[in-house]
């Protein structure tokens, strides 16, 4: 696992984080639930909590879908290619490429290769980018959520050991009621 330079993280006084969606996207409740599930995966192994807010002005994290050049100096590149990007703490910027075809899978499947390679599993990308929002960099462990690439049709949403060790290095494990350090991730 790796971190951003200087190992930025959310301050101890701010471990109950709020997130909001850019209203312009008019996302359905079904899409928003995908992000809620993705946040829960990180909350399960840390002392962090995530709550949805309706105000992007007050939220710690703002999530939006944008196409092409969207003003942050990192333009998206059309279908496939770069899928999304997110900033390190405490900026809370999470952008996804509006030119992608996104698949909303059922929550029961944690790892799967679908027979279609032309759509991208939304929850897999969301879990990865939330890792960046919390302070993790990329990992060379192919099984890890923080591995930089994912093929169309692949679904990988359960945190691997590498991800859990990295995030608990930053925030601890949140106490016995949370999933312990040893569990998690397909062995």
């Amino acid at each position: 696992y790796s971190f951003f330079p200087g190992k930025p993280q959310w301050p101890k006084r701010n471990r109950d984080l709020s997130y909001a969606f850019v209203p312009l996207n008019n996302l359905t409740e079904e899409v928003k639930q995908v992000f809620a599930r993705a946040f829960t995966r990180w909350a399960d192994v840390t002392p962090l909590n995530f709550t949805r807010s309706e105000s992007i002005l007050r939220a710690d994290i703002v999530i939006g879908f944008f196409a092409g050049d969207h003003g942050d100096g990192e333009p998206f590149d059309g279908p496939m290619g770069t899928l999304a990007h997110a900033s390190s703490p405490p900026t809370g910027m999470f952008h996804l490429d509006g030119d992608e075809d996104w698949l909303i899978s059922g929550e029961d499947m944690s790892r799967q290769i679908l027979p279609v390679t032309s759509v991208v599993d939304l929850e897999s990308v969301a879990v990865h980018e939330i890792g960046h929002l919390l302070g993790l960099g990329h990992s060379s462990v192919e099984d890890a959520i923080m591995y930089p690439a994912i093929s169309g049709g692949h679904r990988k949403v359960e945190l691997a050991k590498d991800d859990i060790e990295g995030i608990q290095h930053l925030y601890g494990d949140g106490g016995s009621n949370r999933r312990s350090e040893t569990s998690g991730g397909a062995e």
């Binding site: 496939m80 290619g81 770069t82 990329h138």
Partner: protein, 124 residues
């Protein structure tokens, strides 16, 4: 577009993916240092985007030079590929995969993925 299950996904030709930005790189298979090939400048932009080429280097030519060879070797280390410094099929197969837009390296030098780690081999 959001598809809520596999059966709702239209045939491939109706989807966006057929126009992936990086498919063109596959024609560079087999290139190595000393070659000149149309499209190498775009591949250098790719490596610069993900931090494998220092920001100070910005005149991207179609020459397969040392800067590109070094970027490829570091990329191969980070993605657990055989480190050849060449554009072999497995390396290009990895390059064209969709990915996160965040960089892997900082300015071509600093990484905490494989390329930045000193592997400690412990005699057991």
């Amino acid at each position: 577009t959001f598809y809520t299950n596999i059966s709702s996904i239209p045939p491939l030709h109706l989807l966006n993916a057929t126009r992936s930005a990086w498919e063109t790189f596959e024609k560079l298979t087999g290139c190595h240092v000393g070659d000149k090939a149309d499209g190498l400048s775009k591949l250098k932009q790719y490596f610069s985007r993900f931090g494998y080429i220092p920001a100070a280097v910005d005149n991207f030519t179609d020459d397969f030079d040392d800067v590109l060879q070094s970027a490829i070797s570091t990329y191969q280390k980070n993605f657990n590929l055989k480190v050849t410094g060449k554009l072999d099929a497995s390396t290009l197969g990895q390059i064209v995969k969709p990915r996160c837009g965040n960089p892997d390296m900082i300015d071509g030098t600093t990484s905490e993925m494989n390329a930045g780690k000193k592997f400690r081999t412990v005699a057991r």
